[in-house]
Subunit: 199 residues, 4 copies
Amino acid sequence: MNDPVQPRAIKTRTRLQDTARAVIAETGYTALRVEEVVRRAGVAKGTFFAHFKDKDALMELLIAAEMDRRLDTLETGPAPQDTETLIHTLMPLMTFMTGERYVFDVILRHSGAAARQEIGPIALALDRLVRQIAGWIAAGDFRRDADPLLLAEGVQAFMAQAMALNFCALHETIPLATRLAPFLALWLKPETGLDPQRR
Amino acid sequence: MNDPVQPRAIKTRTRLQDTARAVIAETGYTALRVEEVVRRAGVAKGTFFAHFKDKDALMELLIAAEMDRRLDTLETGPAPQDTETLIHTLMPLMTFMTGERYVFDVILRHSGAAARQEIGPIALALDRLVRQIAGWIAAGDFRRDADPLLLAEGVQAFMAQAMALNFCALHETIPLATRLAPFLALWLKPETGLDPQRR
Amino acid sequence: MNDPVQPRAIKTRTRLQDTARAVIAETGYTALRVEEVVRRAGVAKGTFFAHFKDKDALMELLIAAEMDRRLDTLETGPAPQDTETLIHTLMPLMTFMTGERYVFDVILRHSGAAARQEIGPIALALDRLVRQIAGWIAAGDFRRDADPLLLAEGVQAFMAQAMALNFCALHETIPLATRLAPFLALWLKPETGLDPQRR
Amino acid sequence: MNDPVQPRAIKTRTRLQDTARAVIAETGYTALRVEEVVRRAGVAKGTFFAHFKDKDALMELLIAAEMDRRLDTLETGPAPQDTETLIHTLMPLMTFMTGERYVFDVILRHSGAAARQEIGPIALALDRLVRQIAGWIAAGDFRRDADPLLLAEGVQAFMAQAMALNFCALHETIPLATRLAPFLALWLKPETGLDPQRR
DNA sequence: TATGAATGAGCGTTCATTCAT
DNA sequence: TATGAATGAACGCTCATTCAT
């Protein structure tokens, strides 16, 4: 944490992260155990906690990094012009976020800043997502009578709801996209989403 | 062989629930210990697990019951005619749901049916809530150009988002109601919620 | 237990035994649970214990019955004339006795009378075995300078030792017969079993 | 990463063992409770299971140690020259082994190696016993026409049989020594053990 | 920085057996 | 006889986190 960050320390920290990534690739986020990581990294348990405040901190880091990777793709891709395309564009990110219940929980838990000056990487990634969506909304063929940022946050709310339901109702597995569509239609283009007979 | 559910069994089950309720009243949901419950109820631990699959099952029951109590109040009270009143009406329920992080987590975890034929009490309560809101929307001074049920589910999404953020941003505690207002305004009465200058 | 043994009682007892046998056929002795038996037999748990002092009593009964079945075969077969044939003749019984560690344990536990007037079925079966072996020893080409009954009990001791070792030393699985041979040779025909260079 | 086995760990492990020994001295093996041991040792339960796989592992250790103590005495004492003295010499060990049914069961359970490379302390102690007996047989006034090791293993078989019967026939308590005598006589000195009229 | 032994506190489990009805 | 709810008493386990060295 101090300035003359020793090369050894950086190396250890990097090894821990890489090892964790490898473990996750094999067994998933849920099954990751600190024990396993330090064992594979050839490091003592205490060392782990010298580098990361707690297990959660590492997880937040790794999950946020993965989200950022998908956000990179989003940003370089074409801006969706309608809700259908919007949903389609968001799918890779949602797929990751709902891949494991544990991942979704971590994201939820860190979806806001814990403290003003302490915005975590996941909160940053989500903020980046909202701004991206807001940008799309402002530029695309969506309603113009409301703050794009407010609309984008609403989209986030609908996404979260759809994803949460994805973990329950095991059998009646409505695809995320299908579940999301009517909400976004009404939210983003109210004049076209009208369908009083729904359901 | 049949299912007479002997009165003794019912009595024991009731005693366990009542005892748990008493403990919670004293120390909260988070601090509830199975050990404590059985001790106070004067019942063997094995008996507890004969009546409830695990601690979580009991918690789901108790939390759902508490939600239902608040829903009873909602249903008997006057139907809110505008978003502001709606939020105000929903506050007691949201206050309970966000009173303890543990409670909110349990609710999230059980917010949907685990299986088709196995809808838990919390999922039922939430369903009841959505239907209630839909009823209000249909009857009140809200937009009429969309399915009330869809609108109600949207309200639920906004509520969840607001409540989730409540647990983060510990210091910058924006009141739930304040956070919720702009979303509901735009969602339920789009013509009045217009405020492109927000934030 | 009293005299006018009611037909219903006999029927229930029989059903319990038959059900237990069926369960054992499927899952083995070790995995037998009273719960499972009464459930399948369509009888209450308490009824089980009205018919059998405890689970052990039923097990003793069933295991002894199985042993007796093998003893029937032994008795009707030809009398072994040498140790090799003797071992071979005993194999079916030993195979059963070592099929499950639990079975072996039950047999050991009941290998003697618990009380003078209370010789259990397993002790009886073992007694029958010893007498049978003694008969063979007396009639066959074995040493004649010692009490056949003493010799037979010795055989039993060697059998038990060989069977016990069978459960350990998982990998170095010496066949029972091989393990037994040198002991019986020396015990039953000392003049031919001489092999000071063994091992 | 290497296996320095810090002194602190050794100390804790030793304290656990010593505490267990103290508890056993007071209440016996059967009544030993893990809970009690960790409480008295002032150690967390998790620590216990970090040092011993389970309660059984500790028991095996302690029982084997006790057996070894008696074996020490055996080895330093005079070599028995006849079966009667042999039995007498073995008595302290047999007394310990049959002192509690639980102890005898543990010994039986661990009497052989579970795996080739994994010979437990009890199996080692029993092996030591057999070798000791074999040594006596080779040196003493016993039959010389058979492998002493084979003879010693036979002695072990007779001991086991006698001890097992000790737990049954509760009332007709024939002394171990008496039960053992005729077998050892015939096994170790066939020419003198002849007594066709036995029983 | 690094080490790794120790912590901790409660959960879920087991399942033969008993006993009031 | 039959019922089945209730018992009981420990065990094993979990595993992120701390702390003395």
